[in-house]
């Protein structure tokens, strides 16, 4: 905790951490190791999840994202859809055989939201892979790091597999060190 943080909490200035995207791109190189050594196949779908707000400025931002997406996905041949989940979070779900295009579009959406001043609302970006079942790599914008999420039947997760992925990808992917922050996202919309 820095001095400024202490000062802020003394004054009760609670604020949400800003979104960071510095390490978002790390997955586009790590994907090679995942495919070749770990036999994790990218499933050609990814999503970005954020909290919508009830204000007109936000509606503008959303419209802009849709406009930008239409434009950029045409160029890359990506298909996309918007979906609201049970927690009222909005998802942009992308589909593309080319993994690089998925990363580019995810980055584009997050950048647009940040530029419009909605960076704080950004929750996470998720890439789906296939092993025996689905394997998700979740990028948390607040922590600027990835973590694995392997859901099993009935709100259980495969901790062994997750720890194995951490051990193996640690040197190539910025992985959140504190496993306490590896929050799951149940009922992934893709």
């Amino acid at each position: 905790m820095g001095l400024i943080d202490v000062f802020n909490s003394l004054l009760g200035r609670g604020s949400l951490p800003e979104a960071k995207t510095d390490r978002l791109f790390a997955i586009s190189t790590a994907v090679v190791t995942m495919e070749l050594d770990l036999r994790l196949e990218p499933s050609s779908s990814a999503g970005i999840c954020f909290k919508p707000m009830e204000m007109s400025k936000y509606e503008t931002a959303r419209d802009e994202i849709e406009g930008l997406l239409k434009y950029s996905t045409q160029e890359t041949g990506t298909s996309f859809r918007l979906e609201k989940d049970e927690y009222n979070f909005l998802w942009v779900i992308l589909k593309d055989e080319d993994f690089e295009d998925l990363v580019t579009n995810i980055h584009m959406v997050s950048q647009t939201l940040i530029e419009q001043g909605f960076g704080e609302q950004l929750l996470c970006a998720v890439y789906r892979f296939e092993s025996k079942g689905p394997v998700y790599w979740i990028y948390n914008f607040k922590q600027d790091g990835y973590y694995p999420f392997v859901p099993l039947e009935g709100h259980k997760r495969d901790n062994s597999m997750e720890m194995r992925l951490k051990s193996l990808m640690e040197n190539e992917l910025p992985i959140e060190k504190n496993v306490e922050k590896w929050y799951p996202l149940w009922g992934m919309p893709f």
């Binding site: 604020s15 949400l16 929750l123 597999m161 194995r164 051990s167 193996l168 929050y183």
Partner: protein
């Protein structure tokens, strides 16, 4: 064919510790010898006492932990799992015991692989899934295979003698026959005993930690999946952060307030018999990388 690398560093540290321990002991025995009258009867007495303790160790440990030996019919999953692991590790099947407590734990005891007992608590079985349980059992079987019980008993034998000297030398004040020894000699024996006991205590603790790392490695080799032990360690440790089950969208906004407690001290590291879970997990992660990348 998976190639298991030997952990040269770990083996080196283990050898060095055992060498230092032997040096301390030799010094101690030489000192006792040169100080005139080695209290032979006391050495014999302690040796006998420890011999008996060692001989009955398995029963003593089971009794003190309130562990109950279970038959194949009572706990068929445990029996089958251990049978398979023993086949892989080329070990005779040990007796299996269960302790009825919610504290998740496991231990192995016994003089030799043929008389070993592996015990687990019900809390451990409740908390771990099959793969994780297997990894913990394989860790205990590695202790059996490495004969850790015997090695640590031998390692602590002379240390125990020194300890008895420290505690009871006042009663042995007159040994060696009346006025041949003055009080200065007794104080010297007492001081040297304290030093020997302290140094050997730390060395034994270090040795014990290295044996834990070796057993973790053994578990990884027997099961082929180090990550199962990692995940088991995370689940049963009190101090390690756990992988959460609460949805990210539920806890969103609270993340800013997480506090990471800074608890770490080198003193605790020196004194503990087990290495910290963090270090064990780091070692297991290294094994995983050696295995797959």
């Amino acid at each position: 064919m998976v190639k298991w690398k030997r952990d040269i560093g770990l083996e080196g540290r283990m050898l060095l510790t055992m060498f230092l321990l032997a040096a301390v002991y030799l010094f101690f025995l030489a000192f006792l010898w040169s100080s005139g009258a080695p209290p032979l009867f006391m050495l014999l007495f302690i040796a006998l006492f420890m011999g008996i303790q060692y001989y009955y160790s398995d029963r003593l440990v089971l009794w003190s932990m309130n562990a109950k030996v279970v038959s194949e019919a009572e706990s068929s999953n445990l029996h089958q799992t251990i049978t398979r692991l023993c086949a892989i590790a080329d070990l005779p099947k040990p007796k299996i015991a269960v302790v009825n407590t919610q504290v998740p734990n496991a231990f192995a005891t016994g003089k030799s692989p043929s008389s070993a007992v592996v015990a687990v608590t019900t809390g451990l079985m409740d908390r771990l899934n099959q793969g994780e349980l297997e990894a913990v059992l394989a860790h205990e079987l590695s202790h059996v295979k490495n004969r850790d019980m015997t090695i640590l008993t031998i390692a602590s034998f002379i240390s125990t003698i020194a300890f008895y000297f420290v505690r009871y030398s006042i009663y042995f004040g007159g040994y060696g026959g009346g006025n041949r020894r003055d009080s200065g000699g007794i104080i010297a024996v007492w001081l040297v005993s304290i030093a020997v006991w302290l140094v050997s205590f730390l060395l034994i603790r270090a040795l014990s930690r290295y044996r834990e790392f070796a057993a973790d490695r053994g578990s990884a080799i027997i099961t082929g999946t180090p990550s199962n032990l990692t995940s088991a360690l995370l689940k049963i440790s009190d101090v390690m952060p756990r992988i959460p089950n609460d949805d990210l969208r539920k806890v969103e906004g609270m993340n800013a307030f997480f506090i990471i407690p800074a608890v770490s001290g080198s003193m605790m590291n020196l004194l503990s018999t087990h290495p910290s879970v963090e270090k064990r997990i780091a070692a297991l992660e290294k094994i995983q990388r050696e295995l797959e990348l």
